[in-house]
């Protein structure tokens, strides 16, 4: 489990700079898990606990040779927001072994920011996307086509495309490959979010990315951010990406261009095997599942610190949820919802997300 957690932290770190740890914890955790190989070799046990009085979260590593390393990190409480992404309503669904997607993604240079995933009944295509005309002219444009037969599950409800940031996907893919977890992709019309998810007995990870609306499309994305604490918690939540929210109330954000945030209700797949917790109807009407025991659960959420507000498009909202299976009691506590007002450093108020050390 410790290496899973360490790797999870690594995967998330490729997405953003902060980790949101349940409950209500936040801090700079990555350095503690910097070398996954070293951790696997020398650390027997990792215990995470909070000292509310001192405002510290403690990571204690019990290592070989009787060494114990203790790290105390400051944390900051913050308000949580939830979003709802009804994956079961997505017309286009792909599921494959992580290697397939990794094999595709490796053909794109690491400097490639965004790619477009297009789907039709006869093929799935991944192509470099360039926002600026200048970039396009001098850069290598890469395109890769994969036949639908290569996917473990292939459903195309509507011929569509999704343009999103590649970096986040790479992070999730390397995590998925290490653990051999199949990756599911859910998306719909251009402008609607795309979600990449993996799950197994002990964890579920969902990365929801906003997508670009290509100029030709007439479909402005309209989104609302739901929430206010406390609210039934979802396993996966989404952070609104590019728009600051004035207050914590439900905000309607619509943009003419580009993606943004999605109304996302995290719904585990129909055949979720989580035995814990109970089903609670969410405000969107879709069933929502949340883990029973607050304390046993680790939920990681990462923000990108340098979210460019001036860039109305371009992705960037995602999160990663990991659930421990060892839940002791079945009591559902009222969990505050997840944070996620805005990613900008300029945000004032307690809904900001900051790294504090």
């Amino acid at each position: 489990m410790k290496s899973l957690f360490g790797r999870a932290v690594h995967a998330l770190s490729r997405i953003g700079d902060e980790i949101w740890l349940e409950p209500l914890q936040k801090g700079s955790v990555l350095p503690l898990f910097r070398s996954v190989a070293t951790i696997e070799r020398s650390v027997y046990r990792c215990e995470i606990s909070i000292n509310v009085l001192n405002n510290r979260v403690m990571f204690q590593f019990n290592c070989k040779h009787g060494i114990t390393k203790t790290h105390n990190l400051r944390y900051q409480e913050c308000e949580a927001l939830q979003a709802v992404f009804p994956t079961h309503l997505c017309p286009n669904i792909l599921k494959s072994q992580p290697k397939l997607l990794s094999d595709v993604v490796m053909h794109f240079p690491t400097s490639q920011e965004e790619i477009t995933l297009s789907i039709s009944p006869i093929k799935v295509k991944f192509k470099s996307y360039f926002e600026e005309e200048n970039d396009h002219i001098r850069s290598v444009c890469t395109e890769m086509s994969v036949h639908p037969d290569e996917f473990d599950y292939f459903q195309v409800g509507v011929d569509s495309e999704a343009t999103f940031c590649l970096k986040e996907l790479r992070g999730l893919l390397s995590f998925a490959e290490t653990h051999g977890l199949p990756v599911s992709v859910h998306f719909g019309a251009p402008g609607r979010p795309v979600s990449f998810s993996v799950e197994d007995m002990v964890l579920e990870a969902v990365v929801v990315l906003s997508t670009l609306v290509i100029a030709a499309s007439e479909n402005p994305s309209q989104v609302s951010i739901v929430q206010e604490a406390p609210v039934p918690r979802n396993i996966s939540d989404v952070c609104p990406a590019s728009t600051p929210i004035a207050d914590n109330s439900v905000a309607n954000i619509s943009k003419h261009e580009g993606p943004l945030e999605a109304e996302v209700a995290c719904v585990p797949s129909e055949n979720s095997t989580f035995p814990l917790g109970e089903q609670v109807a969410s405000s969107q009407g879709s069933p929502v599942f949340f883990p029973a025991s607050f304390h046993m659960k680790n939920l990681l959420q990462l923000h990108r610190e340098e979210m460019d507000l001036l860039r109305p498009k371009g992705m960037h909202s995602l999160l990663f949820g990991a659930v421990s299976s060892s839940m002791a009691d079945g009591i559902a506590s009222e969990l505050p919802s997840l944070v996620c007002a805005s990613d900008t450093e300029d945000d004032a108020g307690d809904d900001g997300v900051r790294v504090e050390e």
């Binding site: 053909h107 002219i137 001098r138 290598v140 890769m144 037969d149 290569e150």
Partner: protein, 301 residues
């Protein structure tokens, strides 16, 4: 202008990729000259690259299973493009297990070399990856800059020691000085020297052997075998050349497939004595079965 070529053989593909990796390490941008028989990667000596020039020649039949070219015109049946070799090597890098790789000249938003690789897949239908690599077409009036270099009138020609050894010596010397003196004689001896205010270091190589240049037999005979001809060069340029050489792991350095010459040209061809005042150039030649690479490093005062 048309160009289409295809590689079906994995060995040829690997070899072509290795050549491109070498070129990529030598220069950020170069001229790709395509003729009916050959493919050349050319860098003409300009101030911008420190006067270094490069000429790499490939016999096209040894790499491509299909090759069709229609040059600029019937009398000038070739195509000259400026390209960043890194784009090509990166595109080839992930296609090493391809069933086939096609390269063609296309026009997208600008002239491009489009590389299309058919990759193995889990289904009966292969995966296709294409890379559109932007290029600049070089007009005919500039072609004279990219002609095959003439062999310099050298004073001494010598076989180099194993590249790995030479590279490690040069790497360490680079920490001490920006300039390196390469000297060699017709007795198979070569020295690499650096000299600063604080320290001078010389590495001596013996029994290297000198290639028998027929044309220069007369000159060789009249030259004292012990006399060193030398040239002082920018050490980074030499290091760059050494770094770029990828030895085929299947062939040892002693194998006859790999030969390197170093020619040190002194001031004047007609000098009978080793007058080592005006040094001109080091000419490195790498010859393999299908590829020859010449690299010229000018001497500095």
């Amino acid at each position: 202008m048309k160009f289409r070529a295809k590689i079906n053989d994995v060995g040829c593909l690997n070899h072509f990729t290795r050549v491109l990796n070498t070129i990529t390490k030598l220069t950020k941008t170069c001229v790709l000259r395509l003729t009916v028989d050959n493919v050349y990667f050319v860098l003409s000596g300009k101030v911008a690259n420190g006067g270094v020039s490069m000429w790499c020649e490939l016999l096209q039949v040894n790499f491509f299973d299909e090759y069709q070219l229609e040059g600029v015109s019937s009398e000038a049946n070739e195509i000259c493009l400026e390209v960043a070799p890194e784009n090509l090597s990166r595109a080839l890098k992930t296609a090493q297990n391809a069933k086939s790789v096609k390269i063609k000249l296309t026009k997208k938003h600008c002239p491009c070399l489009t590389l299309a690789a058919e990759l193995p897949s889990l289904s009966s239908i292969g995966r296709i990856v294409t890379h559109d690599i932007p290029v600049d077409i070089i007009p005919r009036r500039l072609w004279h800059d990219f002609k095959e270099p003439t062999m310099p009138d050298f004073d001494v020609s010598i076989y180099l020691p194993p590249l790995k050894t030479m590279k490690s010596v040069v790497d360490r010397m680079k920490n001490l000085s920006n300039y390196l003196v390469v000297e060699a004689n017709l007795n198979g001896e070569m020295n690499l020297k650096i000299e600063t205010d604080l320290v001078s270091v010389t590495t001596h190589f013996r029994d290297l052997g000198n290639p028998p240049w027929g044309d220069n037999a007369v000159q060789s005979q009249s030259r004292d075998v012990e006399t060193m001809a030398h040239a002082r060069v920018d050490i980074r340029k030499l290091q760059q050349f050494l770094m770029g050489q990828q030895v085929n792991p299947n062939k040892s350095m002693c194998n006859s497939a790999l030969y390197i010459w170093i020619c040190i040209q002194e001031g004047s061809y007609f000098l009978l004595h080793a007058d080592i005042v005006d040094k001109r150039i080091i000419h490195l030649i790498l010859l393999q079965e299908d590829v020859s690479l010449q690299y010229f490093i000018p001497a500095v005062a």
